[in-house]
Symmetry: C2
């Protein structure tokens, strides 16, 4: 039984706490949030607190707050010789400002409060200063998910940038797709199967090989016909991504 | 029983023919390809030919060839008073050069020969000059898929552009994600669950509402830290998409 305390009440903390409460290898000792009302729903399931002083004894303290608050929150902890980890993709392990032993427990997924996720497939990227702590984090991670990776702070930063491309930016392309549909009285739902297949396909086929379309085959006729139908902002993006695809395959447009 | 002839042997024709051969409401009368060896595997299952002259009698002739070949192939057909349709997203119905009755039967999905697809969820966009032909296409489409839409040539062109954004361009962002991972000795597989969740999420949540990340929250600190780690080409794309997200939410960076 691993004793865990969760510090935070945002999307990640919410889903992680929920998952840990159902995890038979874990005991959630306490959950902290600066605004206690946000975690009131946990009363009866675990201890809750809005004070970082005198936290109960646990084996791992998981700080799951906004990136900006990690340094401040960690500096207030008095947990010397305890293991304190954060869950951020973009912050280095050393940015934990604490005399505790440090580590990272990064869940590589996009969380919204309303959407249930299957934790067993969420990649967990772990890092720790001490070998024994890494082992403990590995045990915890494996009790949650089948995908556990050792990822150092530099790799994790780059992974987070890659995630911006495949998640934030891909979603923005979906937004543009929805704009084009809505301007033309087409239900955006028509594109959903294509969007999901595009994502699933690359589990089997490297995206370099999965690429199709007018940019890949240097079909300037189609490209020109597309561009004149777009808004200025859409045009800029269309042109730049077309140029980039073209370069990737060493083609000239 | 609808009698159908398929003209073409590419990815779409391959999967469509396979599906129609298993469809109990359809009889595949004949399949044409200019290179008959490519469709030799169909021998015994249907008639095959490499001649567009004297095609057998059918109710619908489906031209599924490359966009560039549609005009040429259709102009060679002698099928007056028959229904001839193409399967292209970017070509207008009137671009069928034929004295036949015209229509369109557009399967909105990304096809690769090797990947099996569930046809029952593929959106089929139909159009026809004559009402009775539209009804026939609708019957055929509904025998294949649960998602059948009436889409005119102008709408279909715009739909095809939207598909370039959500499929071709999204896939290119996956390629960039894979580059970043590979440069840093990270398995690209770590990103697969995030990529699939990003795609699935917007079935429930409009992409405008699903947007997250540093551009959305105007986190210039993180944005600057990301940009310095990227190649020139990646930087250009990062900056433009960040600017576009920022504009979409009326924020200033």
């Amino acid at each position: 039984m691993i004793k865990v305390t969760v510090i935070g009440g945002g999307n990640v903390a919410y889903h992680l706490t929920k998952n840990l409460l159902d995890n038979k290898f874990v005991k959630v000792v306490q959950v902290y949030n600066r605004n206690i009302e946000k975690i009131q729903y946990l009363e009866g399931k675990t201890l809750i607190t809005d004070s970082l002083i005198n936290l109960k004894e646990a084996a791992i303290y998981i700080i799951s707050v906004s990136d900006k608050a990690v340094a401040d929150v960690s500096s207030k902890l008095r947990l010397k010789n305890k293991l304190v980890v954060h869950t951020s993709g973009s912050i280095a392990m050393r940015d934990l400002k604490s005399d505790a032993n440090k580590g990272v427990f990064y869940l590589l997924q996009s969380f919204s409060k309303k959407r249930e996720l299957n934790f067993s497939t969420i990649p967990i990227c772990i890092e720790a200063e001490r070998k024994s702590d890494l082992k403990l984090l590995e045990t915890l991670a494996k009790s949650i998910s089948k995908s556990v990776y050792h990822v150092d702070s530099k790799q994790r930063k780059n992974l987070h940038i890659a995630a911006v491309f495949v998640n934030n930016f891909a979603n923005h392309l979906y937004t543009i797709g929805s704009e084009i549909c809505e301007e033309n009285n087409i239900s955006f739902k028509i594109l959903q199967p294509l969007i999901e297949e595009t994502a699933k396909k690359i589990a089997d086929l490297h995206p370099l090989k999965a690429q199709t379309g007018p940019a890949k085959r240097s079909d300037t006729d189609t490209i020109e016909k597309h561009i004149i139908r777009l808004t200025n902002n859409q045009q800029e993006i269309y042109k730049l991504l077309t140029k980039s695809i073209s370069k990737t395959y060493d083609k000239k447009l």
